[in-house]
């Protein structure tokens, strides 16, 4: 089952590359993992595996807790080193933190002692205030720029952290279950917002989630991680507008994915 990944799905690659050359004229970067494995001490979290994510693709990674999905994300971000194999972002082999990569965490991780604006513009640099305000407008929080983060709701905090990632115009956006702690309605709002921003910017996106409906609603492609390997790698070819709850094709896909989790 672990080896199933790319070999058993020969159709995926041509399909996705066709999509990426037609639709995605993005500034996104491709991600490539070659024979990557990871263990902590004696515990093997990821068995050696290969994975290619073309530029501009939106991939959702699903799995039970402890299946290594967060580790996969941290390997791409350069926060962890692979025990074997190599991770490439664009043509560059990852050996530490990557400038074009930005990450959203499970908790918003805002600096409570800085205003929302300063949080968004955390990397500073020339004209950071204008860029931060622009990013805040993108996430509809323009009027909260001068507030302290502690007065914001959970959803607003995650929107601030999304704006913070957008400021630096990332080529790759990594999302580590950022909506897990939000209530259902706020989560739907965040899905809409993220989809809109992704359609505008087309950065390569990897979303970690344990929510199958979230994965199907947002992604071009869903990967199921199980027992340290890829159990399923499936494209989502439905138009984004028709992925509403209760849609038959969407439901079938969700059921198919759930079988492999």
């Amino acid at each position: 089952m672990n080896r199933m990944a790319l070999a058993d799905h020969p159709k995926i690659w041509p399909q996705n590359e066709a999509v990426s050359s037609e639709e995605f004229s993005s500034q996104g970067l491709p991600i490539r993992l070659e024979g990557v494995s990871k263990y902590f001490g004696k515990r093997q979290v990821l068995l050696p595996f290969d994975l290619k994510i073309p530029a501009g693709q939106f991939v959702a990674v699903i799995g039970r807790s402890g299946c290594g999905k967060t580790t996969l994300l941290r390997l791409i971000a350069g926060l962890e080193r692979a025990s074997s194999g190599s991770v490439f972002v664009g043509e560059i082999r990852v050996a530490g933190l990557q400038r074009p990569v930005r990450m959203l965490f499970q908790d918003a991780r805002l600096l409570n002692w800085q205003s929302v604006l300063s949080n968004v513009g955390i990397a500073r640099g020339r004209g950071w205030q204008e860029r931060a305000l622009k990013a805040l407008r993108e996430v509809n929080l323009f009027d909260r720029a001068q507030d302290w983060p502690s007065v914001l709701s959970g959803g607003q905090k995650q929107r601030v952290s999304l704006a913070r990632a957008l400021v630096s115009e990332p080529d790759i956006l990594l999302l580590d279950e950022p909506f897990g702690a939000l209530d259902a309605l706020t989560r739907l709002e965040m899905h809409e917002l993220l989809t809109r921003i992704w359609l505008e910017n087309r950065f390569t996106t990897v979303l970690i989630t344990h929510d199958v409906s979230e994965a199907v609603a947002l992604a071009d492609r869903v990967i199921v991680l199980r027992d340290g390997g890829i159990a399923l790698d499936i494209p989502i070819n439905l138009p984004r507008s028709s992925r509403a709850l209760g849609d038959a094709a969407t439901g079938r896909l969700q059921a198919e994915i759930l079988r492999h989790v």
Binding site: L79, R102, L111, W113, Q114, W148
Partner: protein, 264 residues
């Protein structure tokens, strides 16, 4: 607007009712002869003593020299404690080398080294400043170290992902994150600062509030002794108020320090 002003006046009044009542009862007790004026003079006598020592300049001179000693000791001891706290908080090898020794020294009551300090410095200025510095060093060290250690590692990781330099990581993430704890240390140190100074000046000094009170005791000027105690109380209160302002300024972001109407 009018309502909130009234609210504030009543808040202030509530704080002062008890001390004022004690003063009135005390004055009445002294005047009626129920209290021995030698042992505890009336508030009015203390007020007269205050006026006398103010007009001959001795009160101002003594207060000034005491404050100067306190601040010098605070500055020296506080800087060392802060520096060590940051160093040990950020850098494991330093922590392994220094922390257990500091924890051991911390458990020695710093006033126990007074005989040694007198041997080293006599009753010169350095003796008092040294004692104050030793006294404030540990609370500031401990709270700075603790504050740095307890900064959320998630925030530090976030800072690294977003490309902050080491300096920016320190000034924008670690230091502000440790600030609430550091300020608790400062507040605690201020109390120790006055306490140490009083003891040091009482034992060995030729100027300062402590000297003034000990000198007055020899001449049975109880009113001056009381005056000295009151000056200490006021200086302590002043220091506390200053830290409160500092906290309100430095921790304006913290929900616990926000004024209720500022929370939306």
């Amino acid at each position: 607007m009018w309502h909130s002003r009234l609210q504030r006046v009543s808040d202030i009044a509530q704080r002062w009712i008890l001390p004022l009542a004690i003063l009135v009862i005390w004055e009445l007790a002294a005047r009626s002869g129920w209290l021995n004026q030698r042992l505890l003079p009336a508030p009015s006598a203390v007020a007269i003593a205050f006026w006398r020592s103010l007009s001959d300049g001795s009160l101002a001179a003594n207060t000034l020299i005491s404050t100067e000693r306190a601040l010098k000791g605070m500055l020296i001891g506080g800087s060392i404690g802060f520096g060590l706290g940051i160093l040990n908080g950020l850098w494991r090898p330093a922590e392994r080398l220094l922390d257990s020794s500091l924890q051991m020294l911390r458990n020695v009551p710093h006033l126990a080294i007074i005989p040694l300090v007198i041997l080293w410095f006599g009753i010169a200025e350095e003796a008092k400043v040294f004692l104050v510095a030793i006294g404030v060093l540990f609370p500031i060290y401990l709270n700075t170290y603790h504050g740095v250690r307890n900064v959320d590692p998630g925030l530090i990781e976030m800072g690294r992902v977003y490309g902050l330099s080491r300096l920016a990581l320190f000034t924008r993430v670690i230091l502000p994150g440790a600030m609430p704890s550091i300020l608790i240390g400062v507040r605690y140190a201020l109390g120790i600062m006055w306490l140490t100074l009083i003891v040091a000046e009482t034992i060995s000094a030729s100027s300062g509030i402590g000297y003034m009170t000990m000198n007055a005791r020899e001449f049975l000027q109880t009113d001056i002794v009381l005056l000295g105690i009151i000056v200490y109380a006021l200086l302590g209160k002043l220091a506390d108020t200053l830290t409160r302002w500092l906290e309100q300024y430095a921790l304006a972001w913290h929900p616990n320090y926000q004024k209720p109407e500022a929370i939306s």
